[in-house]
Symmetry: C2
Subunit: 139 residues, 2 copies
């Protein structure tokens, strides 16, 4: 497996609205589209485009959001994960596992509508790493 | 100013060599070139290419490296900053300051040989943000 496109950097925030206001002020940036809920992952997300990649703003959704603990430690928000693309999610999952990395749960549908999984930061140099199957339309 | 290219994501590590071994194992990735010292910034760096961006591995250099404190809190390493490109560094600096963001020191030569500055994470949603003038050759 080759290192694929950096699809996005996930940035946790206590408020997507406040973050969008910040990106608007500092970078004249508008969101790619409206924010939307991913209830299965306990987050609300909104993408902001850069010319070559995206920022995924992530806000906690519900009382047991996995992002809540991150925000306890980092109340202003901060860089939360990096997401790299792969051509085939199941092959990638098998390769990470064969290399001794802990994949967190099964592959599931992510924010871009394709299958994703996360790899434990302790096995990735402290970086929570999302692996995402490249959307077919983007090929 | 528009949100420019995500030039790289800075990833702090206690050991560039160990991180390169990890990227080799997990992603079949090789460094863009050899690691090199940036004494003025107190770091040693090495870039790894993705098809659309780069990862900048950052290791402390010297006893007073600004990365040392980050590694005290995150011994395995982790995401340290995001770097966005701008066409003109002085215009960008003036705009950030006009918007009330704290620019950390003066613009100085960065790892890609063009002028860069950093913006305080407290003014950027918790994200230490590097602003970098686009290398002319890349235009």
């Amino acid at each position: 497996m080759k290192l694929g496109r950096l699809n996005h950097v996930g940035v946790a925030t206590p408020s997507i609205e406040q973050s969008l206001e910040l990106y608007r002020t500092m970078f004249n940036a508008e969101p790619h589209g409206p924010a939307f809920d991913l209830p299965a992952q306990g987050v609300r997300v909104c993408f902001v485009d850069t010319p070559n990649s995206q920022i995924e703003l992530i806000e906690p959704l519900g009382d047991h959001s996995p992002v809540a603990k991150f925000l306890e430690k980092n109340p202003l928000g901060g860089q939360h994960h990096m997401c790299f693309e792969v051509p085939d999610i199941q092959i990638a999952k098998a390769e990470f596992e064969a290399n001794g990395a802990r994949v967190l749960g099964e592959a599931r549908i992510g924010a871009h509508g394709t299958l994703v999984f996360f790899v434990h930061p302790k096995d990735m140099g402290g970086v929570l790493t999302e692996i995402m199957e490249t959307p077919k339309a983007a090929n």
